[in-house]
């Protein structure tokens, strides 16, 4: 199924330009979706806009963006006018800088999008940029206006396409020093390090999407199915009995706990 592109524009490397389109890498469409109902009538609740002064309904065609200038003073901006805003980065991803893939820490990654060549004429140019980044193990850095904000973005080759990440602004990531004062005093006992590493190795698995399954959604689906079937009231899903956390390990028994863990994992492997 073709997803309507979220954004269309151009990808540019120096004098090479190709038409591209982009869509969000995440989607709500598979989520159990609820509608809002009126409890009394069980009809859908819909939202519409009314004029704040006259109270009369405003049709979608009559809705227009207003830029606030004063308390009650607005300048009307049509979408076509907004398009003319004098910033290259509304339509063009001009890659200004390349940097090694590992040099951008994960904490800067904000929202991922999938970027593809949108027309046959641009396939080769798109592939040149993608393959050259891949060959150099580099990611591209550029600017792009998304959702009325100009963002730093990172372009990373992935398969036949490119993943475009918006990157957080400098002041959006909080200074870790403030949070890690206690952590920086924490030292690992060198005698225990080999044991920890053994435990980690035993518990290391390959990444699999099953690690991000949602048990809650599955139970919601069950409840809905039960309600649909039964006219009688279905039994409420019981929440799993919570296990009380074991008392935190203190310095003395960490070694014991580690040894037990490694032993337990070794048994499990047999």
């Amino acid at each position: 199924m073709a997803v309507r592109p979220y954004w269309k524009g151009y990808l540019k490397l120096s004098l090479v330009t190709c038409p591209v389109e982009m869509m969000p890498a995440t989607s709500d469409s598979e989520k159990v979706r609820f509608h809002t109902l009126n409890r009394e009538t069980e009809n859908r609740v819909v939202s519409h806009f009314v004029d704040a002064v006259t109270g009369k309904e405003v049709k979608e065609d009559d809705e227009v963006k207003g830029y606030q200038r004063g308390e009650n003073e607005y300048v009307v901006l049509e979408d076509e006018e907004l398009e003319t805003v004098a910033l290259e980065s509304t339509k063009t991803i001009d890659i200004s800088t390349f940097t090694p893939r590992d040099s951008i820490e994960w904490i800067w990654l904000d929202t991922p999008y999938y970027l593809s060549a949108s027309e046959p004429v641009g396939q080769e140019a798109f592939s040149v940029i993608r393959d050259a980044m891949e060959a150099q193990k580099m990611v591209g850095i550029s600017r792009l206006v998304i959702s009325r904000r100009e963002r730093a973005v990172m372009l990373e080759p992935r398969g036949k396409g490119i993943v475009l990440w918006t990157l957080r602004y400098g002041d959006e990531v909080r200074d870790e020093e403030t949070y890690f004062t206690a952590a920086s005093d924490a030292k690992a006992d060198p005698e225990m390090m080999p044991l920890v590493q053994r435990l980690i190795k035993k518990l290391t698995k390959d990444w699999s999407p099953s690690m991000v399954e949602d048990p809650v959604q599955e139970r919601l689906v069950d409840i809905i199915a039960a309600k649909k079937k039964a006219t009688k009231k279905p039994s409420r899903a019981k929440s799993k009995s919570s296990t009380t956390p074991s008392t935190p390990s203190n310095v003395v028994n960490i070694m014991d706990a580690l040894k037990k863990s490694v032993a337990a994992e070794s048994r499990r492997r047999k």
Binding site: P19, K31, H35, A86, W106, L203, S239
Partner: protein, 297 residues
């Protein structure tokens, strides 16, 4: 300095080792420029109203309830208590279910980052986990109830502390294979790839978040000013896509290579370009490979 307030406190458990931790928001989002929606006819602001789709009568918030559509217009009603009852009670423990090599982590699952720091006397166990993960280059997968939702988080060493990123669920991330399936299998080799790699090397730099400010708001303000003063809004010039036949030429020009010169002279032209020597000359093995594949291909 006032110690920041934790958003969550609980435990990390790996194997039989438990350590108390505190979780803090690591990133916030800044505001975007907001427009108001106006009624074009009156110029007044508009406001949103929630009404019954049949009667058109306003519905108060208290009378709004969640419904799941089972078939055309029929709904199963779920009261808020029923929805919250599905979320297991929190045991306040991030139990590590597995470690995975950092190189295998699919970053498209990332949702929000949080700093994880030791709480109370948890320092020793915390440091063991942090240093152990850093040494073995792995991240940890754990699951717990965070802020009344069941979440999977990916925990990794980050400087002196840990970062826990909440992950999107499998059904929330589109497959990249599916997204890119319309794209042709096109592998670029030879001179084109060589030139593009050269351009990339000359643009090598580092990412400094401080260099990127949001220029959009100022640009819109300029636009508004132009409109008020009755100036004609500039026509936006769109870039022209490179034609496939001109691609090699565009690459050569971008790389500072004189297209009229023969290929054998190109290396010399590059060296004279004034680009740092090291960058221009270091990837000699790569160029050779590319040259080979060009001959065979």
């Amino acid at each position: 300095m006032v110690a920041p307030r934790a958003n969550w406190k609980g435990y990390i458990k790996f194997g039989e080792v438990t350590c108390p931790v505190a979780l803090y928001t690591a990133a916030s989002s800044s505001e975007r420029i907001s427009f108001h929606t106006l009624n074009r006819k009156t110029g007044n602001r508009v406001k949103r109203e929630f009404v019954d789709s049949e009667s058109g009568e306003p519905v108060e918030t208290d009378d709004q309830v969640k419904g799941y559509e089972i078939e055309g217009g029929r709904y199963v009603v779920l009261e808020p208590e029923e929805v919250t009852a599905v979320v297991p009670e929190s045991d306040k423990t991030l139990k590590i279910e597995a470690f995975i090599p950092c190189s295998q982590v699919d970053t498209t699952y990332f949702d929000k980052p949080y700093y994880l720091a030791p709480d109370k006397m948890g320092g020793e166990a915390f440091a063991l986990l942090r240093d152990g993960m850093a040494k073995t280059k792995v991240a940890a997968i754990a699951r717990t109830v965070l802020f009344r939702r069941m979440r999977t988080v990916l925990i990794r060493a980050h400087g002196k502390g840990l970062v826990a990123a909440t992950l999107n669920f499998d059904y929330e991330v589109r497959s990249s294979k599916e997204a890119f399936k319309e794209l042709p299998d096109l592998k670029i080799e030879g001179e084109m790839l060589e030139l593009a790699e050269h351009i990339i090397r000359t643009k090598k730099g580092s990412f400094d978040p401080g260099d990127f400010d949001d220029r959009y708001e100022a640009a819109v303000a300029d636009l508004v000013k132009a409109k008020i003063e009755g100036r004609a809004l500039p026509k936006k010039k769109l870039p022209i896509a490179s034609k496939p036949g001109d691609l090699l030429k565009a690459l050569r020009e971008s790389a500072g290579v004189n297209a009229s010169k023969s290929k054998s002279k190109r290396q010399a032209a590059n060296a004279n370009k004034g680009a740092p020597r090291q960058k221009a000359s270091s990837p000699s093995t790569k160029s050779k490979q590319a040259a080979t594949s060009r001959r065979t291909g």
